[in-house]
Subunit: 187 residues, 2 copies
């Protein structure tokens, strides 16, 4: 598959659905021209724009690139990438090229310098819009500016970190749209 | 089962695992002496203390109780409660007693005035510790002060909101503790 076909555009105003369920994320940054990525499981959907918050601190190599560039790509990996994503979270981009080591494809983004991650189910190009909680809580608020979808992911199920070294893969999907009486305009 | 047996104490320093996977939450507050609850799917684990962030705005009836009391209980419902939790998110405590309507048990908490939700898999008593992002992003930072666990939940699986009216129930759990080489002290 050509790089171009690995990610196709997705409506930005529906991209909040990428993260609301709380999947483990890959955060792609660029540091002195080199693409890097890290694993983040502490984050929140904060609005439809989309707005999201992610926790990462100075002990993460990517922190400095995110802080200095003010940009990143948020990738949502599928369950086929579970072991790779855990390993990505257990090594540092300071020491190696993670895209090369893990056989993932860095694709050019449109609005930010950081790379899309070709194999992810979704990618969201983001800019940092607020750092008020960063000194105390290592919390960056991001605004999504362009959204991408993998038209044929190996496994479209995402996965979630419990925080104890176990991970939960998406199970049954239940459609309760008919019960969302108060929120019909949002869904 | 007596009320006392519905929730037993749980180690506070492991309570960050209640929310890191991004399950849909019930937020229990007390308003003029009346217990209420609402459904929240936009939230983040922010630290081991535990610290967490939740989004709710002035359009939510519970917002005012949370803002004025500075306290709440975060309940983590199991999959047996999925339809009830969705319905709780589609009506207002201004109009009715949700505990009575949905047949859920309000149990006394230890450190806050809000009620534990007996049927939830977990409950976390919380205090609001930061509101810097509340005016712009409707984001409250909470600190957990006491944690509870249901020793025999009907269904221990949690569920996640996609944001489009569909919900994902926890599927397969994968233990990758052996790969968490960098984070052995945390898991």
């Amino acid at each position: 598959m050509s790089q171009k076909q690995m990610q196709v555009t997705f409506p930005l105003n529906r991209a909040f659905t990428f993260v609301e369920s709380g999947p483990v994320l890959l955060i792609s940054t660029i540091d002195h021209g080199k693409s890097n990525m890290m694993t983040v499981s502490c984050h929140a959907s904060m609005g439809f724009e989309p707005t999201l918050g992610i926790c990462l601190g100075p002990w993460n190599y990517s922190y400095h690139a995110l802080r200095e560039s003010g940009e990143c790509v948020v990738g949502i990996p599928g369950a086929d990438l579970l072991e790779k994503v855990v390993d990505i979270g257990n090594c540092s981009g300071e020491d190696e090229d993670k895209f090369a080591r893990f056989g993932l494809t860095a694709l050019p983004a449109h609005d930010v310098a950081a790379s899309l991650i070709g194999e992810c189910v979704y990618n969201l190009e983001c800019r940092v819009i607020n750092r008020a909680l960063e000194p105390e809580f290592n919390f960056f608020v991001l605004r999504g500016v362009r959204a991408w979808k993998n038209p044929s992911p190996k496994d479209g199920r995402t996965f979630h970190a419990v925080g104890d070294g176990t991970f939960i893969i998406d199970g049954e999907v239940v459609n309760l749209r008919h019960r969302m009486t108060k929120w019909q305009d949002c869904i």
